[in-house]
């Protein structure tokens, strides 16, 4: 049974008298420990799907089954409790944290809310989480705006894994990072997935990154699924028009080195 099954998901926005379907009859599933990438040009509905799956916005139609339960049927307290299993990492790690927060507080919140560790135990858990994502425990008292972008995204990942989720939605989680840091963060994500069997819904417009991390890919165009399948197969030989356009638009490192020589 799949971990997350999304069927016929639809979200419309009304602009003036026109209704625009941001997400139109989209279905996909993710298995435990698997990485599914959502790719597509800007405005194709990638981030809307992320927000729908996380119940940050409500769909107009469709069904989301998570861990075997009807996720859309969950209300208030039950929904908040279930959120422990379904986490998110945002694109801009600076905007994703309260500007007044410290690293310790950011990591303390999930542990406190879901009753994972007692008050006295939490500082140790926070230190362990920081070390788990390749940071040192002495970062804990620092303010969020004092640490570097790469460190911040590591803290965001630590916060997401704090509640031992089965699925993490990564919305352009490495797009704002510079290339060297991006590789380290991708390695960290792969490492976490191997050890804790976390599934990822990986949203990106960067096909190179998707090829490196995803098992399967879903290509979106104007809110609909254009193409889906094995990540390497789709990216190496896209069938849909949007797939060909995305692959053609992706910069290729080896070609530029050939040109330079």
């Amino acid at each position: 049974m799949s971990l997350l099954a999304v069927s016929n998901l639809t979200k419309r926005y009304r602009r003036g008298d026109k209704t625009i379907a941001a997400v139109d009859d989209v279905s996909f599933h993710i298995d435990p420990g698997e990485t599914l990438a959502l790719a597509g040009p800007s405005g194709s509905g990638k981030s809307t799907i992320a927000r729908l799956v996380l119940r940050l916005i409500e769909p107009d139609a469709g069904r989301i089954d998570f861990e075997g339960d009807d996720f859309l049927a969950l209300r208030s307290a039950a929904l908040r409790a279930r959120r422990a299993s379904l986490q998110m990492v945002f694109q801009d790690p600076l905007a994703a944290f309260n500007p007044r927060a410290t690293v310790a507080r950011v990591l303390d919140d999930p542990l406190r809310i879901h009753g994972i560790a007692s008050r006295t135990e939490r500082p140790r858990r926070i230190a362990a989480l920081l070390e788990r994502v390749g940071l040192t425990a002495d970062l804990a008292p620092r303010a969020i705006h004092e640490i570097s972008g790469g460190q911040r995204q590591r803290v965001a990942i630590a916060r997401a894994v704090a509640t031992k989720p089965s699925l993490i939605v990564l919305d352009e989680a490495v797009s704002a990072l510079d290339v060297s840091v991006r590789g380290q963060i991708l390695d960290l994500l792969l490492d976490l997935q191997r050890q804790e069997r976390i599934a990822y819904l990986f949203i990106s417009h960067d096909l190179g990154v998707i090829r490196a991390i995803a098992h399967r890919v879903v290509l979106l165009d104007a809110g609909r699924i254009a193409e889906s399948g094995d990540a390497c197969a789709v990216i190496d030989a896209p069938q849909s028009a949007i797939g060909k356009a995305l692959v053609a638009a992706a910069p290729r490192l080896n070609r530029t080195t050939q040109d330079a020589s």
Partner: protein
């Protein structure tokens, strides 16, 4: 540079701080320097200032020590001004945050109530409230807060409306934080700076409103107030103008001091926010 030193570096803020410090010193030392009832008769009536050094600012129509009254009046002004402003800011920030964060019907109801309060002139509202309930210090505080909480509420709501769309609020929902905890722990503290920026104006207005109520005889009759002193002196304005002028100057300096110090604080925090 420490925030305090940066604050004191601007001349306006420095002047404001001095005035405010003097006012606080007056309020705190009132019962030490002038023990007993400031409304007791201390000497001959209508003694002009600087005649008798035991009564430096002279006496009023009933022979009460004007300087003692001034010190005890500082106490009332400061207490009423600060508590009324604090109440207005707290109520306004909470109402504005709830309205902005909850949205929908809660927002509609809270903002229509705010509208209703805002359409009545705040001084009239205070006047009506005190006349109905009766003058005492607590009632005067409530009456002033009643007319001033709407401004902070509107500013807080506008700020919350923009903050609630930010990623970190979505992030707080994703980790399963309770909506009230999100509103008051994540959103409200970040919505506060522009609300607090209004505090100096609100404190100054509250002090003036209290003085105006006292001037009209609606202040707490058991306490000396500057407004009451001015009203008292008004009857003998031609023969003893100092009785109105002295508390009048005190009032002007107080409002000026509060305003300048408040502006200084806003300036300092703005610089700090800009640097971070």
């Amino acid at each position: 540079m420490s925030p305090l030193r940066r604050f004191l570096r601007t001349p306006e803020a420095f002047a404001g701080a001095i005035l405010l410090a003097a006012l606080i010193a007056m309020a705190l030392s009132a019962s030490l320097l002038f023990p007993g009832d400031p409304q007791a008769i201390a000497g001959p009536a209508m003694l002009p200032p600087f005649q008798d050094w035991s009564l430096p600012l002279g006496t009023d129509r009933l022979g009460r020590n004007v300087l003692a009254e001034l010190f005890h009046g500082a106490r009332t002004s400061l207490a009423v001004g600060l508590t009324a402003a604090a109440a207005a800011l707290v109520v306004g920030a909470v109402v504005g945050t709830l309205a902005g964060f909850a949205g929908g019907i809660v927002d509609e109801v809270l903002m229509r109530i705010t509208d209703a309060f805002q359409t009545v002139p705040s001084f009239l509202l205070a006047l009506a409230f005190v006349s109905v309930v009766g003058p005492s210090l607590g009632i005067v505080v409530i009456a002033i807060a009643l007319g001033t909480w709407t401004g902070p509420a509107r500013v807080a709501r506008a700020e919350v409306l923009s903050i609630r769309e930010r990623d970190y609020v979505a992030g707080a929902r994703v980790i399963g934080m309770h909506p009230l905890a999100i509103a008051f722990r994540e959103v409200l503290p970040n919505a506060l700076p522009p609300v607090l920026a209004m505090s100096s104006v609100i404190v100054a207005a509250a002090i003036l409103t209290e003085a105006a109520l006292s001037f009209l005889g609606l202040g707490d009759p058991n306490r000396v107030t500057w407004g009451g002193m001015i009203a008292e002196g008004r009857t003998v304005l031609r023969t003893a103008p100092f009785l109105s002028i002295v508390p009048g100057i005190a009032l002007v300096l107080t409002v000026l001091g509060v305003y300048l110090a408040g502006e200084g604080i806003v300036e300092t925090t703005a610089v700090r926010r800009g640097l971070s």
